[in-house]
């Protein structure tokens, strides 16, 4: 399931719901990304999404992960709009028969989300606002899966 939301979400409650009723998935892995304050340099983050388009692109990444890692299920929750330091931005959870596939799929999905997902990120800090593009590190992380 893919959910774009402008509202805060509760990662614990989401993980509980994702795990509920599973009798055949032996493993669930999850990751939560949190907005960094950068020691006061980043006072707020604004993520722009293109509703309708962004979910479709993320859906294709999730489909690829489902096949590649033989997942039983996957969850992606992504915030957009203004986000304050300390707030969760993204959550990924994956379910599979055994742990290795769940761990790897979670890592893979995060690498894709960090560099390929259709979001435009603006950081507001004391020196003004700037649009952020993927870092070399993000692109190197993504290349691990080629």
């Amino acid at each position: 399931m893919i959910r774009l939301t402008e509202a805060r979400f509760d990662p614990g409650a989401e993980l509980t719901a994702f795990c509920a009723g599973r009798t055949e998935s032996g493993a669930v892995a999850s990751f939560v990304g949190i907005a960094r304050g950068e020691g006061g340099d980043a006072t707020a983050l604004e993520l722009q999404a293109y509703p309708g388009f962004t979910e479709g692109e993320i859906g294709r990444m999730v489909e690829a992960a489902m096949t590649r890692f033989d997942l039983h299920d996957a969850l992606v929750i992504h915030r957009h709009g203004p986000i304050a330091p300390g707030e969760p931005i993204v959550m990924v959870a994956t379910a599979s028969a055994h742990r290795r596939e769940a761990f790897e799929a979670c890592d893979y999905l995060m690498d894709y989300l960090k560099s390929r997902a259709p979001f435009w990120k603006k950081e507001h800090g004391p020196g003004g606002a700037r649009w952020v593009e993927p870092t070399e590190r993000d692109l190197d992380d993504l290349a691990r899966w080629d």
């Binding site: 990304g33 993520l47 722009q48 293109y50 309708g52 388009f53 479709g56 992504h78 931005i89 993204v90 989300l113 960090k114 560099s115 390929r116 997902a117 259709p118 979001f119 435009w120 990120k121 603006k122 649009w131 952020v132 593009e133 993927p134 993000d138």
Partner: protein, 80 residues
Amino acid sequence: MRVLLFGRLGDIAGWRERGFDPPPVSLSALKALIAAEDAALGLAIDAKGVRAAVDRVIVRGEAVLEAGAEVAFLPPMSGG
């Protein structure tokens, strides 16, 4: 026709969403119209790495536009 600008393109233009009436018949006609009104935005939407989507599907090169089309200009994505 609705035109949407994302990321830095919206800052350059001073708008993020606008209607165009009468609607241009092609993507190149739309770009030419935008460039004639706002040269800086015209350059920005034609820059390397900026993609266009018509009705939420990425198009490469030229595209014919229906009157009710939604055209979006997408600068390089930041990721989440």
